[in-house]
Symmetry: C2
């Protein structure tokens, strides 16, 4: 069995009676190489389907042109969209992308960070696993002169060399959503808030509170629920709300799944959405457009977030120190919160 020989620069050099260095230079378009030589080299390379060995080049240069991405998981709506943005921007900038998932597990997160470091990536884009409390594994990254950009789920107080972040302005999104509901005439707006130890939920909750107060409405603790967010809990929560002496005339949910659950209960109870109770969710999941009525939701600019994360990383690699980027979300008004004029 003959060795699986892929054509190398040395091969080209031999065939053309040139030195490897010249061939290498010709291929990378070095200005000091004569046009004729360049032409000869390129022609042969083309003809033999020559593919340069990135590994060798990277080893020699000390630059891999690869960036690592570490997300809690790659399914659902949000992360695939962000990763899509990352992939597109990275490819435009001439970088490859290596993707890992932590499955919301710190141990795997740690392992994956090592893996990416071993692969000699030039930078890492991370969205933290929900179980991450200790951040020591990221120190190693920065010591190794590898860029680090957190997105969406970030380490709050992690200013540091070669580190930046991209987040969504959850506060503004919630504020927009609630302001919109008030504009539709709603006065008792419930909030399915999610567990407040997560910063995204905390910020959305604050946006909710501030929007109410800014319009002269006093938040009512009875209208606020802090259960984990899911279809079932959204439904359960709505049932409780309907039994209040003064039930709400709107619901702002911190995620879309819970909003669906709430809406199903409303419909089953014979309440009209949006006329009796208006509903707004958060994340702009694909299914929000498919329920009946379609659910208004806050779009998280996933794609933009991915692109921005890559851009931040490239700035870090140029030794700039870009401040964290905060993206402004966009409220998409659909039937669930649009009352007749």
């Amino acid at each position: 069995m003959k060795p699986p020989h892929r054509t190398s620069i040395t091969d080209l050099a031999r065939a053309l009676n040139l030195s490897p260095s010249t061939v290498s230079r010709a291929l990378t378009g070095h200005p000091q190489v004569s046009e004729t030589t360049k032409a000869r080299v390129r022609e042969l390379a083309e003809q033999l389907h020559f593919q340069p060995n990135q590994l060798a080049a990277a080893l020699r240069r000390g630059r891999s042109t690869t960036i690592g991405v570490l997300v809690p998981y790659i399914t659902g709506h949000f992360f695939p969209e962000v990763v899509n943005g990352i992939a597109i921007e990275a490819s435009q900038q001439g970088y490859n992308v290596m993707i890992c998932q932590s499955n919301e597990d710190v141990a795997q997160e740690k392992k994956n960070i090592e893996l990416l470091m071993n692969a000699q990536v030039e930078g890492i884009l991370v969205s933290l696993s929900s179980t991450t409390q200790d951040f020591a594994h990221f120190d190693a990254v920065r010591q190794a002169e590898v860029g680090l950009v957190f997105f969406d789920r970030i380490v709050e107080d992690m200013a540091g060399p070669r580190t930046s972040a991209v987040v969504l302005d959850d506060y503004a999104g919630a504020y927009q959503a609630v302001t919109h509901l008030i504009g539709q005439g709603c006065r008792r707006i419930a909030h399915i808030a999610g567990p407040l130890h997560l910063n995204i939920h905390r910020n959305r909750h604050q946006g909710y509170l501030d929007a109410l107060r800014a319009h002269g409405l006093e938040p009512d603790e009875a209208l606020i629920n802090r259960q984990p967010l899911g279809l079932g809990t959204g439904a359960e929560c709505m049932r409780q709300l309907l039994q209040l002496p003064a039930p709400p005339d709107a619901v702002f949910s911190s995620n879309d799944m819970a909003a669906v659950g709430a809406m199903q209960v409303l419909k089953a109870a014979g309440r009209r959405v949006p006329d009796d109770v208006a509903v707004v969710g958060f994340s702009n999941e694909a299914f929000t457009a498919l329920t009946e009525p379609a659910i208004s939701s806050v779009d998280q600019r996933c794609h933009q977030m991915g692109r921005t994360a890559v851009q931040q990383l490239l700035r870090l690699l140029r030794d700039e120190t870009p401040p964290p980027v905060v993206l402004t979300p966009e409220l998409l008004v659909r039937a669930s919160s649009q009352r007749q004029a």
Copy 2:
């Protein structure tokens, strides 16, 4: 500014008064190294946070332990789920994953294949772009002794060295779905089939026809629609079906989006689902569980497909010649097709 020196095997060797080879062997658990030396090496490696340079190792070994994945896009439901399966299996088998998307464009597909080859991947898992007609760019892959596994969207007649495939048995999925509808008492079953030039749609269509005939029902051309599948076309198609002299008592749609469209029209027209008209979709998209009623659908075993693709690749790399794998889909019966007993 001091050079960004990451600890190397040579460093460890110097510090321990050993040769690099011994250190290397100790690190990889070579049996011929004394336990004491191993312990010393490991301890120092730990202490200095030593991370081996994969690039160098891969170059030397001629094996990158990286596999490439090329999909039309990484958003939506199907591909992220498959990629998830790939990532998990690959990681378990000690491989890294490099992901590219073709955006349904042959040119990008070609470019990405080259990119992956340059990165010296050991194998590539591909789902074809819908515009791919010419397959020359894949010949190069196999000539380079790189494994090639097609999944979902495959090259039909591409038997070849170091090549395999994983697909879903679309025919069986459709057959199951239609048989189920017949079992629910449906007799005039419409089919939103999608354009039949795509093999997946063709196979599902055939499954539909055969299931009908197997139960003594003659297919009615008036009940079959071949428009591209979307929310709008599903709705449009349903409107037409309702105007037939003998409208259908069930709809089997080749995808879930069109099923939602059809169901919205049914509800708007005051038909009860499933009692007047039962509905079954295909793909088990997340939103099928969220509509009202929830839509029965055929699950495509995305996760399994990803894992299997990796397994097939590893077999190819062991010089086996595994036959293509055909996965059997699973019908998930939900409210949209479940009539009272």
